[in-house]
């Protein structure tokens, strides 16, 4: 394609954000529709990229590169491969759905929609950047709108949650920044692919270890990996519904994406050396996340902790690939399978958890509570809601035939071959997550005797069904036939595994 599709996709929301700000605030309906309409442009372009990405050639495509700050060799450098294309599509999709769902926002809609579009630019930028400086700019930029979304439109403890979210991420990202400055001084380049080729600090192992852990910290906080996850429940619970969707659906993927795109290719030797440590953290995230989720009585908090659990599978997959780095073609198949599973799990978690947070929002809008003990017997009362919730929950716990199963299977298939002890421990997480999803979510919300308080509860309206329909579609279609997305991912994953 000879026109800058990525740049257009990237900056349309930014321009849209300015347009929304310029609209009169007396006409909330107008600005909501304008924001939604604008968000369709990156969505359509993302779909275009998905279909026109040449799976035969693979590698980075739609590349754009221009000098930005030549004094320190920084480039405006965009490109997507099979890992970033699904993430870009996920971002565009969830943003559009979130904006549509957010039509209920009455409080300062103008600023809300402007921040949301700004956030989309930042997130897309992270997935497209191939220059570390640019990557970092978007990475940090994504903090600001989300900080405001939580802080202004959030729940009762929004101030605390917003600041905590910001500071946690900032700690990690400045650590990462310092390591990257050192890497730049060593290699003279900010180019992520170039850095992976040059393998910085390959002679100075101490420095390499420090840089590895600094970058790891930056991404691990975002993923989040135990013990850096404590910001997550606060931020997810206090954020407005659409904010939680984006947080869980996309912002967590930024960290995981960084692990795969940056940490793994640039520090393969270090990652292999420290794979046991990372593996332990991943296993703890999986099991501990599941256990804590099981003990929650707040539905939103439960789903928030389930993200710790599910993102743990991503980490497990990445660790499996890293643990066998440099061991040649013998392990390459298992590595590729694990990493494929990790990337697919990122996509699936975005779709499924996004849907779950939407569903929490739907029920909270009506019941004004998220207390699981207060619900019960809603299954017959609100059948559409019950149906969608059931499908989503089953997808989340990895029922075969739905999307979650494929990715978890791939992750464990790779992990059992390469890091068996961690895989065995982690498999506990699957059992526990099935337990809490069935017991807490299905049983406490949908089954049992109907609480009389909810006698007048209404079922989902058209807006809500339209919001959730695409997500359900992807859960089912990629559960039954994951080949289209796996073809895309596999291409890029094999390249990365080959370079390790």
């Amino acid at each position: 394609m000879d026109w800058p599709v990525l740049s257009i996709m990237l900056f349309t929301p930014l321009v849209g954000s300015v347009i929304v700000l310029a609209l009169p605030k007396e006409k909330p309906a107008l600005l909501k529709w304008v924001a939604l309409a604008i968000s369709f442009i990156p969505l359509i372009l993302a779909a275009l990229v998905w279909f026109s990405y040449d799976r035969g050639t693979g590698g980075m495509q739609f590349v754009e590169r221009a000098a930005w700050i030549s004094a320190i060799n920084v480039h405006y450098y965009l490109g997507v491969d099979g890992i970033s294309v699904p993430m870009v599509c996920l971002t565009a999709l969830l943003t559009t759905l979130s904006l549509f769902y957010s039509f209920i926002i009455d409080q300062r809609p103008k600023e809300y929609f402007a921040f949301f579009l700004l956030l989309e630019t930042a997130m897309l930028g992270v997935f497209m950047s191939l220059d570390f400086f640019l990557f970092y700019v978007f990475w940090e930029l994504s903090l600001v709108p989300m900080y405001f979304l939580i802080g202004i439109w959030g729940g009762p403890r929004r101030e605390y949650a917003a600041i905590k979210f910001f500071l946690y991420t900032l700690v990690g990202s400045v650590a990462m920044l310092l390591a990257v400055i050192a890497m730049y001084l060593e290699t003279g380049s900010w180019d992520i692919l170039e850095m992976a080729r040059l393998q910085p600090f390959s002679t100075n192992l101490t420095l390499a270890a420090v840089a590895f852990w600094a970058v790891f910290l930056g991404f691990a906080i975002k993923v989040p990996v135990f013990p850096f996850h404590t910001w997550l429940p606060d931020a997810h619970v206090e954020a407005p519904t659409a904010g939680s969707v984006i947080l869980a659906g996309i912002l967590l993927k930024l960290g995981a994406y960084g692990m795969i795109r940056i940490l793994l290719p640039i520090f393969p030797a270090m990652f292999r050396q420290f794979a046991p440590v990372v593996g332990i953290l991943a296993a703890i995230s999986i099991v501990y996340g599941a256990l804590v989720a099981m003990s929650q009585w707040d539905l939103k908090k439960l789903i928030a902790y389930s993200s710790v659990n599910h993102m743990g599978y991503v980490m497990l997959g990445v660790t499996a690939a890293a643990a066998a780095a440099g061991s040649g073609p013998a392990a390459a198949d298992s590595q590729a399978i694990a990493l494929n599973g990790a990337v697919l799990q990122m996509w699936n978690h975005g779709i499924i958890t996004g849907a779950l947070f939407f569903l929490v929002g739907v029920i909270y809008e009506r019941a004004h509570t998220r207390d699981l003990k207060a619900f019960g017997g809603l299954g017959a009362k609100v059948p559409t809601f019950a149906g969608i919730l059931t499908v989503t929950t089953f997808a989340s716990l990895g029922l075969p035939g739905l999307a979650g199963f494929v990715s978890e299977f791939l992750v464990f298939r790779g992990a059992f071959a390469l890091i068996r002890p961690f895989a065995i421990v982690s498999s506990l997480g699957i059992v526990i997550s099935a337990a809490y999803l069935l017991w807490k979510v299905i049983q406490h919300v949908l089954l049992g005797p109907l609480n009389e308080r909810w006698a007048r509860l209404t079922d989902m309206n058209r807006r809500e069904v339209i919001t959730l329909a695409p997500l359900i579609f992807f859960m089912v279609i990629f559960g039954l036939y994951p080949a289209p997305i796996l073809d895309l991912i596999n291409q890029a994953v094999v390249t990365i595994v080959g370079s390790l």
């Binding site: 930005w68 700050i69 030549s70 004094a71 320190i72 300062r108 600023e111 970092y136 700019v137 978007f138 990475w139 940090e140 930029l141 903090l143 600001v144 900080y147 405001f148 802080g151 202004i152 929004r158 101030e159 917003a162 600041i163 910001f166 500071l167 900032l170 700690v171 400045v174 650590a175 920044l177 310092l178 400055i181 050192a182 730049y184 001084l185």
Partner: protein, 484 residues
């Protein structure tokens, strides 16, 4: 030999002459026709600064001496002079409406700002420790008077007295340091002093070390480095806000200019020891400044502690010596826009007759004053070091210089401090946007001049953050041309 006009090279001293001359002209005109509005004084001040700026910009990358060797006209001096002049011009704009609102509009204000600037320019270009001292005193004495400018206000007078006493103390240290360095090298000219020290080797000459230590103490007072910072919060809070804005930027630019020149030209052979000393000060300054800032509940005082911490960050690059000079320069350029902008917002929002701006007054202003609040958020994010603002590029450059010079641990401390600082900078944003006002503040309309100043500051912060290339190249080339 008798000096001649060509030795004086007065042409090179045009910036100082224009600035000080405009100041004297203001005094004369005011003494002759002192009735009515004093706007003209501000315009005259801007004119003088513009002439100085034009002269600074047109000077190429050459290195020559002025006033028989007392001053140096080189890239380093001109670059810092440029930052200083821009800061002075912005603070004149900021002050115009504020002084009228507070009913203290007097022509002397602008004259004093100009004299302070002339002093700062002398420091930035000084090639002689005596010239540094004269510049320092011209700057300082003007600032003492400016601090007391709201004569009816007890806080303003108290601030001035504190500043005067501690400033005089610092001057004494500085002067004693000059005397010891003179004793060690037999000259006060920086270039010759550098040669003398290089020739003598870096053996432990107690006179040299004593002199360096005392000079650093003197400069440390001026920059409010911990542990010489105790005057800063009270003075920053008590002085008229427009003065605080100017002071927080101008004295930093001038003092860092002198410090960088001293480190590059004179103390390069002694780098290991001076660096260690400065590194210690940097750690203390950043950490203490940030921790104390956390406890504040008033914006001006918060910004006072924040600017202590900011001086610490800049010192991190100064530790790196020659490698860090460009970073110091670039950061100060960005800092001038950022900090002046932040103080301009404080000044626009503070109640009439009241220097303080308690946090509670900020509540709800995010939506009641969307533009100004957005500007303040921008400045605060830049002070934090968020990307797309000049603060990010500046810090990247500062800490990068430290890493490059092998001071990685110092860069780590600095980065951790940046995180701490995010907490209190963000707190202001939280209050502006996330809390409703209990008793809404009665706000004055910001005047045109203030609006222009804010717009310029915001544009500077964004442009230098978005396309810093030109400025980075400029900084790098400027500091490469040093008279030595």
């Amino acid at each position: 030999m008798l000096p001649t006009l060509s030795v004086l090279n007065l042409n090179g001293a045009v910036p100082q002459i224009a600035v000080a001359g405009a100041g004297m002209l203001i005094m004369l005109i005011d003494a002759l026709f002192h009735r009515g509005s004093r706007r003209w004084a501000a315009y005259l001040a801007l004119l003088g600064l513009a002439v100085a700026l034009a002269r600074v910009v047109e000077s190429g990358a050459s290195a020559e001496t002025i006033l028989d060797g007392a001053l140096a006209r080189d890239g380093l001096g001109m670059a810092f002079a440029l930052v200083l002049i821009v800061a002075a011009a912005l603070s004149v704009l900021v002050a115009m409406d504020y002084l009228r609102r507070e009913e203290h509009e007097r022509a002397e204000y602008y004259a004093l700002i100009l004299f302070a600037t002339a002093g700062g320019l002398a420091m930035a270009m000084a090639n002689d420790l005596v010239a540094v001292f004269i510049g320092l005193e011209t700057l300082s004495i003007s600032l003492y008077v400016l601090s007391a400018f709201f004569t009816g206000d007890a806080a303003s007078r108290e601030a001035a007295l504190k500043y005067l006493l501690l400033g005089a103390f610092a001057s004494a240290f500085f002067l004693y340091g000059i005397a010891l360095l003179y004793g060690a090298s037999g000259t006060t000219r920086l270039v010759e002093m550098g040669t003398a020290i290089r020739l003598a080797g870096t053996q432990a000459d107690p006179l040299l070390w004593g002199g360096v230590a005392l000079i650093i103490v003197g400069v440390g007072f001026k920059l409010a480095l911990v542990p010489f910072h105790s005057w800063a919060p009270d003075v920053y809070q008590g002085a008229p806000t427009s003065v605080t804005a100017f002071m927080s930027v101008a004295s930093k630019v001038a003092a860092f200019a002198a410090l960088v020149r001293l480190l590059v030209v004179v103390l390069a052979p002694a780098a290991p020891l001076t660096s260690a000393l400065l590194a210690l000060l940097a750690v203390l300054t950043m950490t203490v400044g940030n921790i104390l800032a956390l406890a504040q509940d008033e914006v001006k005082r918060l910004l006072a502690y924040s600017s202590i911490a900011q001086a610490g960050y800049i010192l991190v690059a100064a530790v790196a010596g020659e490698v860090g000079a460009a970073a110091v320069l670039f950061y100060l350029l960005g800092y001038a826009f950022t900090n002046l902008g932040a103080f301009a917002v404080v000044l626009a929002w503070s109640r009439r007759g009241e220097g303080r701006l308690p946090f509670s007054d900020l509540a709800g202003l995010g939506f009641r004053r969307p533009w100004t609040a957005a500007a303040l958020s921008l400045f605060l994010l830049s002070l934090t070091g968020m990307p797309l603002t000049v603060g990010f590029v500046g810090k990247l450059y500062l800490f990068g210089a430290a890493v490059q010079a092998g001071w990685t641990w110092l860069a780590i401390v600095a980065v951790l401090n940046s995180v701490v600082s995010a907490f209190y900078y963000l707190r202001l944003v939280v209050i502006m946007y996330m809390r409703e006002a209990e008793m809404p503040l009665a706000l004055q309309r910001a005047g045109l001049a203030l609006g222009v100043a804010l717009a310029v500051c915001a544009a500077g912060v964004i442009l230098l953050g978005l396309v810093p290339g030109v400025a980075l190249d400029w900084a790098r080339q400027a500091v490469a041309v040093v008279l030595s």
